[in-house]
């Protein structure tokens, strides 16, 4: 009997805990926003300062799901996210044009850089044009790591290969990791390969990597982030007020100020440059 008693006490305790869990999630439902965003905003640590500031100000809770821009937009298309913070301009325009998103607004930018081992086997250092650099990498057959995950970075990389007139996919020297930016940089560092990364993620990981920036400053390497609200006309379950509040926040003076200074203390230079209100 002793066993039964202790067992039933235990059961009751667990049931209570479960109910507490359930209640807390039900209460949270209307006050939560699902933000689908890219790995770069999370891996660089920017979200860890932006989100608490927003939550404190607005009382909403933000569930930031960091995936590639491609997946983030898929989530928006299916109405499984309320607001997107992404960096894949061509895909974004299509997303809005097809009626999945509204109110696409410019938030910030940084740039992409081509990084690689300091030995630089394809001799691309100081190349002004990313196109030439990619051509040299292909000609030398030097290892290149691609994200391969439909992220914003991957989209840009594909665009660059296309403009260089090279069909990289399937080549022996071209490998796809299918991982986030941070992990792909780790793979590139480990295998001494080249890759394209946003500067923010690179700077935040730099001290561990042993990869150096080889090509930068080309206009085609601009990395632009937009905030898009998911169209509530298409998906009635979208948290309209929350999405708007978050989008308004990231382009507000306060958030733009946070973006402007984020990273200076830790990495010596800002990781992102605020752009709200500017033209592209």
């Amino acid at each position: 009997m002793k066993y039964f008693k202790s067992l039933s006490v235990f059961c009751v305790a667990v049931l209570l805990a479960l109910t507490a869990f359930a209640v807390s999630t039900v209460n949270a439902a209307e006050k939560t926003i699902i933000l689908a965003t890219t790995t770069s905003t999370q891996d660089s640590g920017l979200l860890d300062v932006l989100i608490p500031a927003f939550e404190k100000e607005s009382g909403f809770m933000v569930k930031a799901i960091s995936v590639g821009s491609g997946q983030a937009m898929k989530m928006g298309e299916k109405g499984e996210a309320d607001v997107l913070l992404v960096h894949s301009p061509d895909a974004e325009k299509k997303f809005v044009a097809e009626g999945f998103g509204i109110n696409r607004r410019l938030v910030m930018h940084n740039d992409f850089v081509i990084v690689g081992p300091s030995s630089d086997p394809a001799k691309i250092k100081a190349d002004k044009s990313s196109k030439d650099a990619l051509k040299k990498i292909a000609a030398a057959g030097a290892l290149f790591l691609s994200r391969g995950d439909n992220s914003g970075t991957h989209a840009l990389e594909k665009k660059l290969w296309k403009s260089a007139g090279i069909a990289a996919e399937g080549q022996k020297w071209y490998q796809q990791t299918g991982l986030g930016m941070g992990e792909t940089l780790n793979v590139a560092a480990e295998k001494k390969g080249y890759t394209i990364t946003d500067r923010g993620t690179y700077l935040s990981l730099k001290k561990r990597l042993g990869l150096v920036i080889l090509v930068e400053g080309d206009a085609s390497l601009l990395n632009i982030y937009h905030v898009i609200e998911v169209n509530p006309a298409k998906w009635p379950k979208v948290n309209v007020a929350g999405a708007k509040a978050f989008a308004d926040f990231v382009v507000s003076k306060k958030a733009q100020g946070i973006i402007k200074t984020y990273g200076i203390e830790k990495f010596g230079s800002p990781l992102f440059f605020p752009d709200a209100g500017n033209k592209e």
Binding site: V14, A17, F21, T25, A64, E80, G182, E183, L205, R208
Partner: protein
Amino acid sequence: MDLILEGLIKAFHLFLTLDPEVLGITWLSIKVSGLATFISVIIGVSSGMIVALTRFPGKKFVVSVVNTGMGLPPVVVGLFVTVFLWRNGPLGFLNILYTPTAIIFAQAIIATPIVMGISIAALQNLPNKLRLQILSLGATRVQMVWILIREARLPLMAAVMAGFGGVISEVGASIMVGGNIKGYSRVLTTATVMETGRGNFDVAFAISIILLLLVFLVNYIFTLIQQRERPR
């Protein structure tokens, strides 16, 4: 090598300074995987018992399905649960995607076949005549079930440990249905993946070490219960 050392030092540092974030993540892992294991034990042992103690056509088929389920890949469970829990999915009205509750749900699905499979084996391993003997001594059915569970205590505790070990260490489902949200649905395994991605290998190591210690501690307690002298 020095990374592992750095990780060890970091782990002790995080623990000794009682880093609130790491403590929160650890506590959530215990809570989520503990509850998931508990649910799986309730469902797994009872249904395992029914399968083990009754005879019905297609029993072998059911048992092999359960045994296949023991190797259920967490990412596959994560994918299915995500699709079901989507706002516009069949269980969307529950509104639990990207919550700790969703992780419990997914982990319970992962652990249940493990617990059930081992339970079936454990109970089938008991001597056949034991049941008749217990009943003939005048026990009620509830008493019989209870005695059988106690008789099979060693392998049943192994089932609990296997279930818990399976879910506390899985990352695929947790990251998909939980979303790895800071201070809310981040558990030890998803934090390890994220910190590795961020290149913070020392923190990743520290969290892994905490995870290992936690798994050891829980299994140690379970083993103590399992190996306890049987009260006569």
